[in-house]
Amino acid sequence: MKYLQGEYPIIHKQALAKDVYSLTMLCPEIAAIACPGQFVHILPKGFGLRRPISIAGINREQGTLRIVFVIKHKGTQAIADLNQGDYLDMIAPLGHGFTLMPEAQHVILVGGGIGVPPMLPLAAYYGGKATAISGFRTFQQVILQEDLEACGASTICCTEDGSAGAVKGFVTAPLEQLLSEGADAVFACGSLPMLKAVSEVCIRNRTYCEVSLEERMACGIGACLGCACKIKKQNQEEFLHVCKNGPVFKAEEVLW
């Protein structure tokens, strides 16, 4: 694993929805080695701990990286306050991303809410072979559907209240249906309950599934053992670390 720390200029900022922002940084050294599912570890000015944010776009030619995040509290607020021309202090690219399967015929990307952004680099990789199911609470939160489509992916947008998208309800309903038609793999990111449900559906349907987990982090690189998650490998339970062994894990190995 290779990663760098530096301050990189923000070359584009966009508001995507209420409290949701997209930032694009010029960081060719990082863009050159970043992979789908990895994350960046951002230091908001004046804070002691960094904030992990998934990579939502990798443009090797232009040497840029994109992130999409929601303002949760003070740290993400400070990042959202930055503007084009400001610099972002990042350690990146970090973690172990999604498995890329060049031979796959059909993969399903499942993103819930602010778990949708990390699906974008996968959509860019799989193009027309990907179907992206995105779930949101309501229409105001819907983001990135055109971006997914621009990659060539088919999109299925779900809202819990039916206020937008083709599906009213959770992502699991369209997922069940697609899986019944067969798929090589499912890649998912979202809330813990959603990931658990997706994982169960995949296991029941015997479809390979990877999920991207979250945990509170300090170092972000595997040194401090702060971001533990319980993983079962060969029937052995152990605490692995989201920042180094993950954030992407095989769904079947996660002890929810």
């Binding site: 694993m1 990663y3 230091l43 945990e215 595997g222 040194a223 053992l225 998650c229």
Partner: protein, 303 residues
């Protein structure tokens, strides 16, 4: 270029800056940023007799000018450490402080004995971990227990023995004197202050372990005070730590009486912190025409 070298317990350090135990793993991850040989030394993650899985997550919480952790001494055990981590570390041209812990004096002694047979430079006995049920802070908060575990480890090793003290005590100087009397060659302080945060929306402690260890800039004034008190109470050298973020902080701890300085949480904020601190110390010494960092140790003039 000022002379930054120090000597502790007969061991030469090229500079006084040592990433603290638990924040730096075994150095592998930070080697991606810079050569470990630039560091004065490295204090490794606390190692116990057997592999420990640590506490459930969340293990990390942010606090004003600091953080809480409740890692709980997750580590692969002393045998794995000696076989798979130490040999690599010993090639890095820096002083290795093997941090050890255990649930009983016997376990600590066993770990020390195994390390005694290696090339490791120094042992740092942690009697102050707030995140484990047995041993840890239970040792560090009573003079009797602190003395007892020090004595047990002292018998097990001829290597320089540093005992790492807890700040969660009424009198840190009493504990320091107790471990000095039982043969500690140095003391290091402070470990984390015991703290807690609550998520007021879920009404649950943020840490799954309920409480955790507070580190970072916010505790620096407590570290300065305890280093000063301890350096004035014992004859053995003191290694200072707790909230050091800059070269000036390190200088301040050394003036308070520290012969070397460990850097903990600061490496999370900036992985280059130890390297920057070394260069900032050099700048301060140069600007003030001080030729060696050794000249400033313990030089604070109380009123």
């Amino acid at each position: 270029m000022a002379d930054l070298s120090v000597n502790l317990c007969g061991i030469d350090f090229k500079n006084p800056i040592i990433p603290a135990s638990g924040v730096f793993g075994y150095g592998r991850e930070y080697e991606e940023f810079y050569s470990l040989s630039e560091l004065g030394g490295i204090a490794t993650k606390g190692t116990t007799g057997q592999k420990r899985t640590g506490n459930p997550a969340p293990r990390i919480a942010e606090t004003p000018a600091g953080m809480l952790n409740s890692v709980g001494l997750q580590n692969p055990g002393i045998d794995y450490f000696i076989e798979h981590e130490l040999p690599n570390l010993m090639t890095k041209n820096t002083v290795i402080l093997a941090n050890i812990a255990g649930a009983t004096p016997e376990e600590c002694a066993e770990v020390a004995e195994k390390l005694d047979a290696t090339d490791v430079h120094m042992l740092e006995l942690n009697i102050s971990c707030p995140n484990v049920r047995q041993g840890g802070a239970a040792f560090g908060t009573s003079c009797e227990m602190a003395g007892q575990v020090t004595a047990a480890v002292r018998k097990a090793t001829k290597k320089p023995l540093i005992v790492k003290l807890s700040p969660n005590v009424t009198s840190i100087t009493d504990i320091a004197k107790a471990v000095e009397a039982e043969g500690a060659d140095a003391v290091s302080l402070i470990n984390t202050l015991l703290g807690m945060r609550i998520d007021i929306r879920t009404r649950r402690p943020v840490l799954r372990n309920n409480v955790g260890g507070l580190s970072g800039a916010g505790i620096f004034p407590v570290a300065v005070r305890m280093v000063w008190q301890t350096a004035n109470a014992v004859k053995i050298p003191v290694i200072g730590m707790g909230g050091v973020n800059t070269g000036e902080d390190a200088i301040e701890l050394m003036m308070a009486g520290a012969s070397a300085v460990q850097v903990g949480m600061a490496v999370f904020t900036d992985p280059y912190a130890p390297i920057k601190i070394i260069s900032q110390m050099n700048d301060f010494l140069d600007q003030n025409h001080i030729s060696s960092v050794r000249e400033i140790i313990g030089t604070v003039q109380p009123w």
